[in-house]
Symmetry: C3
Subunit: 108 residues, 3 copies
């Protein structure tokens, strides 16, 4: 699928309380992220993954999921940037491997 220019890249899905949206998108902007998509009005409960502790959502929270596709070298600075925030706020970041189309001209 050479013509399709599929590029390996990392997808981050950042789930947090919607009231912290500006904080999160500012952090992404400063990290050099060129764009993001936000899924609004999620509901949720508890914590994701292995850990509970203070990482709790209530049914009443209005959560958002910020979806970003970033080159691998941005994953670490972004996660480090979110570290202090997640020490005192609920949320989680999912990291996965995806491919994106480079969206170059397909016409020949």
């Amino acid at each position: 699928m050479k013509d399709l220019n599929l590029t390996p890249i990392k997808k981050l899905e950042i789930i947090l309380d919607g009231e912290h949206r500006a904080f999160a998108t500012d952090l992404l902007d400063r990290a050099g992220v060129k764009g993001y998509t936000i899924i609004n009005n999620l509901s949720g409960k508890g914590s994701h993954g292995f850990h509970s502790g203070h990482l709790m959502f209530n049914e009443d929270d209005v959560l958002i999921m910020i979806v970003v596709a970033v080159p691998e070298e941005l994953v670490e600075p972004i996660l480090e940037g979110f570290g202090p925030f997640f020490n005192s706020h609920s949320g989680v970041v999912f990291v996965s491997d995806i491919q994106v189309t480079r969206m170059v001209k397909f016409r020949h």
Copy 2:
């Protein structure tokens, strides 16, 4: 990225009719899932993947996607738990490999 404590884990994306939300979250609770996030008000059509048969959505259905991150050993019991349900109801489960941040203290 040792400091980031990225942990491999499985993500389940469970798509079903919103009227069965309580059934699904109860099943997840009983399976030991510590939390989930729900994307509400999806629309959809047809079936996902290879199979049609009775796994049909209409454009009028109000679907939800329940997103959970679970350790690998929970995947099988959860899918088995949903088996009888999906024998008579529409829906699908996507399973994928992700990593989550353990959200430990980042300050040193």
Copy 3:
């Protein structure tokens, strides 16, 4: 997990302006996709991945994400089908590896 009939498959997440929904679902139908799920009312900004150029969303755009699970051989024709569209419209396609349950009878 043989009994679970987990089948490897490709997930496409197609993000574009909601006004082009019918174009996109028609293209998927013609490519042989049997179903899809749509997350409505996303917000977004900028472009995903490495590339900016004309792939821009404004904060005011109402985006949708169309989620489809397809056999690998459909990825290339679908991406080729979207090529001309993405030459003149904003959007991105994420491709990832997932597994789906075949949803066969679990009762023995």
